[in-house]
């Protein structure tokens, strides 16, 4: 799931802003029947429904994530809706430059996220993105498990 950063920007800055009826899921192509679409719309009101992993293996780069500043908690929308999760849970932002349309061998189109993964291998070149310096939360997590 992705969130358009503009939505957060408006929620952050405009006190009159309310979440529109058409939210993140309904921006995408309709692939389901109408009954399920209604269900999706109702679920969308409680967004964000998922979180994304960041800076870890199989996770996103930090710059791919939605940036929510500390003062977001001073908005009514943050306090009253589940958008408050954006301040504490990483959610990947929607940026059209992070996506690429490809076609399968059978000609069916797909959409791929590119250039936003931490350990992404650069296409065709055999290079990886240079490792970035980071702390050891991975180690801490591993050892903190008492099992």
């Amino acid at each position: 799931m992705t969130l358009p950063p503009g939505l957060v920007l408006q929620a952050r800055t405009d006190s009159n802003f309310r979440i529109p009826s058409t939210t993140v899921q309904t921006f995408s192509n309709v692939v389901l029947n109408s009954a399920e679409s209604v269900e999706i719309s109702s679920v969308a009101k409680d967004m964000p429904t998922h979180t994304s992993t960041v800076s870890c293996k199989d996770g996103y780069k930090p710059e791919a994530m939605l940036f929510v500043d500390e003062n977001f908690s001073q908005s009514q929308l943050q306090r009253d809706t589940s958008l408050s999760a954006l301040s504490f849970k990483p959610v990947v932002k929607f940026n059209s430059s992070h996506y690429k349309y490809v076609t399968d061998d059978d000609g069916s189109p797909r959409i791929l996220q590119v250039g936003v993964a931490v350990d992404e291998e650069l296409q065709d070149l055999g290079f990886r993105v240079p490792p970035s310096a980071s702390a050891n939360p991975e180690a801490a997590k591993c050892q903190a498990n008492l099992d």
Binding site: E63, K89, S132, A135
Partner: protein, 877 residues
């Protein structure tokens, strides 16, 4: 630094930027109008030249005969087509083409500075003193035209030479194809609007915007191939294949949208190296110049990054490789090549500091760059447009051109580049940059018809410099005004009475405090509600996290009150009378409910708690037990985590704070991950002491800080007020009368200010002053929660259990993290594989075999491979 963004270009290659599609669009237009346009083979628009002709093609043919034969046929056709298009463009708009695209002038024997050059081009030292051998002359001479064919004779000579490889012909054909597209964009744009003008109607805005953008793509394509050919002609080889990154253009400027989105964040959300650039981006839209000069000076002096990005932006603006200008304003690709090579040998890194002498011009430069570098985030730009933010106006969209002022100033930058070309590099960049001042007072280009308007520049073309954001005034603020006013009504007579006895009243004694607050009319009104109603109102306030942010209208709706709305458009009230009138609209009961609600909401606003969920709770619980060694000290292996938690010290599982000095005493990581290279291994509390109840034998923490001077003064004042019993003294009528009727003298003596100050401190004081350590410290359980206390968010790291100030970057995996976890501390008795979790060092590492380059190792050569392909990089490292 973890959690922070890195710079990357807006686009990675021509296809990613949309150049290929732009070229196809333009060539489709050419084919529709010009019968001589040849059919286009697919290789002409292939993204990468390497894939067509191999990586070593300049050394000889590699079996690409069919391409060579096709290219040999296409080159003259494209040349003739470009010449025809340029003639058509001249015919449509002769004035601008004659000025902007005229051939370089022959030396007149005098340099622009008046010194005689005896009819020869100066050699040796460049205008800024660097020895360049006057490359501009050499570059400008080499690609000279050969009549209508329009392609450089030197390139043609190379093509005709027996040593010339296929790459020359193929690349030249691709170059001329781009030149044709560029010329067609001029024709198409000039038909809608001539150079220096804009149509008065907005009907053509989308078409013009498309042509401006496509023209920029074509120019980038042409110049990249020209640069490649020039290298081959000059040196016999070229390291860099023509690509989007061959030359500086708006297509490969850095993507700063992520940085721009952090402009509202505090200092922890922005890398220190990027602060100067962010200041440029945020301030460049201000119409006024207040503060701009100082920022310019300090940022350019202190920040290498800001200086470098500005220098690159200057190159793009001087060469016109952006989409803010009419295609006809851009130099021809041959002149552009000379200019680019000349600028590449100038020290723009230093020259950009010279431009800082013209802050207005520098602001226009940054505005142009800002409009492009934040354009990749379409959703944000759309939101900014909704808020009428000037950056959205700068960036424009697919339906709208950039503002007139930006195009006009961009044209001036291009004219500086043109000036350099016309003077064949004899004029220094500094002299040319002095032209920057001209756009301020330049006369608009005369429009030829009523349907066109001349482009003009004025300082306020972006309008106001901020977005249209209406901040609402919370009802708590309005209610606070009412409570304060009602308190002042009783306090002032008391204060005057004290003054008549030469007694200050900055604090109230216990009896005075209770009496004055009980006399408060607003408090009395709220006490008219019965206990059930009061509890109902309190529950309404406490159950809503946003109760402290609700406006009067929102609170009125909550209690079903009609007509409760402040006179001010932001939901607030205009003065105390309006505030009282507004809350009275709901009747006496409604007013009491509103006041009581606001009083509760103000208290609840001090502490906000957010539940992080069961997964975070479990992770934090495990980490806290591990961090405090509880599992090793207490457990015999049979205790559950919840049982172990009871043995965890209070300062490890609770947020401890002193409400007197408003201080959190836990060891907190406050850096937001910026000190990632230093582990955070602090535990315990600071400035605290354990107090044990003698009867129950229970222990708790108290603040151990010494009282501040202000607290000591407050305690002394309170004691004095308690001792002197001022309320029992006689009332001095004369003194009171003289003080109340002394008119302007009171303000002259500062009496009013003193009374106001005392009233405020007396209103805000607690019932009695308690020194630090006099009461228990506040202890809020924090496991699984994020807590906001005194405007700071606190939580536990889910991996090591330390306390953190929650900043936007404090995230790892899907949890909050300090980013400074110390696994050595957490595993004091367990051996861990340090290599597995070793910190990546700054030493170079081979990306294939993982070998780390050490200082002690034998000297090794680090090769920066410009064209990393599988074949050629396998041996690196």
């Amino acid at each position: 630094m973890p959690g922070q963004s890195r710079l990357k270009p807006l686009h990675s290659d021509f296809e990613d930027a949309g150049t290929i599609d732009a070229l196809h669009r333009l060539y489709t237009g050419i084919a529709a109008e010009y019968a001589e346009a040849p059919p286009l083979p697919s290789w002409v628009t292939a993204t990468r030249l390497d894939f067509l002709i191999g990586t070593e093609s300049e050394l000889g043919e590699q079996g690409g005969d069919h391409l060579r034969l096709q290219a040999e046929k296409l080159i003259p056709l494209f040349s003739q087509l470009e010449a025809r298009l340029l003639r058509d463009a001249e015919r449509i708009a002769p004035t601008h083409l004659a000025r902007a695209r005229s051939a370089p002038q022959k030396p007149t024997g005098k340099s622009p500075t008046g010194k005689s050059t005896n009819g020869k081009l100066p050699t040796g030292k460049s205008p800024i003193g660097k020895s360049t051998g006057n490359p501009m002359d050499k570059r400008m001479e080499r690609p000279k035209t050969t009549g209508p064919a329009g392609h450089p004779s030197s390139f043609q000579d190379e093509v005709d030479s027996p040593q010339g490889g296929d790459v020359h012909r193929v690349c030249l054909a691709r170059l001329l194809f781009g030149a044709c597209c560029e010329a067609f964009a001029i024709v198409a744009c000039s038909r809608i609007s001539p150079f220096g003008c804009r149509p008065t109607s907005t009907l053509f805005n989308a078409d013009l915007k498309r042509l401006y953008k496509d023209s920029c793509h074509a120019a980038a394509w042409t110049s990249a191939h020209a640069h490649y050919l020039d290298d081959i002609v000059a040196t016999g080889m070229s390291i860099v294949r023509p690509s989007l990154h061959s030359i500086k253009s708006e297509l490969n400027e850095p993507d700063l949208s992520d940085l721009f989105s952090r402009r509202l964040a505090g200092k922890h959300g922005i890398p220190s190296a990027a602060t100067a650039m962010l200041a440029f981006l945020t301030r460049c839209t201000n119409p006024g110049s207040r503060g701009w000069d100082s920022i310019l000076k300090t940022s350019l002096e202190d920040s290498d990054g800001a200086r470098r990005l500005s220098a690159e932006a200057l190159t793009v603006s001087l060469t016109g490789m952006h989409s803010c200008i009419h295609p006809g304003a851009r130099l021809h690709w041959k002149q552009r090549l000379g200019l680019m090579l000349h600028l590449s040998e100038q020290s723009l890194f230093k020259s950009v500091v010279l431009l800082a002498k013209h802050p207005l011009a520098f602001k226009e430069l940054i505005r142009r760059m800002c409009s492009n570098t934040v354009s990749s985030s379409f959703a944000s730009n759309d939101a900014l447009e909704q808020l009428e933010h000037p950056v959205a106006l700068l960036a424009g969209n697919v339906q709208r051109l950039c503002p007139d002022g930006l195009e006009r100033s961009s044209m001036t930058f291009v004219s500086v580049g043109t000036e350099l070309v016309h003077h064949r590099g004899e004029i220094s960049l500094e002299e040319a940059l002095c032209k920057m001042l001209t756009f301020k007072n330049s006369e608009p280009v005369a429009s030829s018809s009523k349907d066109q308007r001349a482009l003009q520049w004025n300082a306020a073309y972006l309008g106001k410099g901020s977005a249209c954001i209406h901040n609402k005034v919370p009802a708590v603020n309005v209610a606070s005004t009412i409570f304060s006013f009602a308190f002042r009504r009783n306090f002032l007579p008391f204060w005057v009475h004290c003054s008549s006895h030469d007694q200050r009243a900055p604090r109230l004694g216990d009896a005075q405090y209770n009496a004055l607050h009980e006399m408060n009319a607003a408090t009395q009104l709220t006490l008219q509600l019965d206990a059930n109603e009061q509890l109902q109102v309190q529950r309404a306030a406490l159950s809503r996290p946003s109760s402290g942010l609700m406006t009067l209208e929102d609170v009125g709706k909550l209690f079903g009150l009609v007509g409760v709305r402040g006179a001010s458009c932001n939901g607030g009230s205009k003065g105390i009378k309006d505030a009282v009138r507004t809350i009275s609209a709901g009747g006496a009961r409604g007013a009491a409910q509103i006041l009581h609600f606001c009083r509760t909401a103000a208290i609840s606003e001090d502490i906000l708690v957010y539940d992080l969920g069961p997964r975070s709770y479990r992770l934090q619980l495990e980490a806290v037990v591990k961090r405090s060694l509880t599992d090793e000290l207490v457990s015999n292996g049979t205790m559950t985590l919840d049982q172990l938690l009871e043995h965890v010290p209070q300062h490890t599982k609770c947020l401890c704070a002193c409400v007197e000095c408003k201080r959190v005493s836990n060891a907190v990581a406050t850096d937001g991950g910026s000190k990632w290279n230093v582990s955070f291994n602090e535990i315990g509390t600071s400035g605290s002491m354990i107090s044990t109840d003698a009867l129950s034998n229970e222990s708790h923490l108290r603040c151990a800080k010494r009282c501040s001077t202000s607290l000591k003064t407050a305690i002394a004042n309170e004691e004095e007020m308690n001792v002197c019993n001022i309320e029992c003294m006689d009332i001095k009528q004369d003194a009171l009368r003289s003080m109340l009727h002394c008119g302007g003298e009171t303000s002259a003596n500062g009496v009013c200010a003193r009374a106001r100050r005392d009233c405020k401190s007396a209103f805000e004081q607690r019932e009695s002053c308690v020194p630090c350590g006099g009461e228990k410290m506040l202890a809020i359980p924090i496991i699984g929660k994020a807590i906001r206390l005194w405007d700071q968010w606190y939580a536990l790291c889910s991996f090591c259990g330390c306390f953190i100030n929650v900043r936007p970057n404090n995230k790892f995996e899907s949890e909050l993290c300090c980013l400074r976890c110390d696994h050595d501390m957490l595993n004091r008795h367990n051996k861990v594989d340090k290599k597995k979790f070793a910190q990546p060092s700054n030493a170079p590492v081979c990306r294939y075999c993982g070998k780390v380059h050490r200082e002690s190792h034998h000297l090794s050569l680090i090769c920066r491979n410009p064209t990393p392909t599988k074949v050629h990089t396998a041996w690196l490292g």
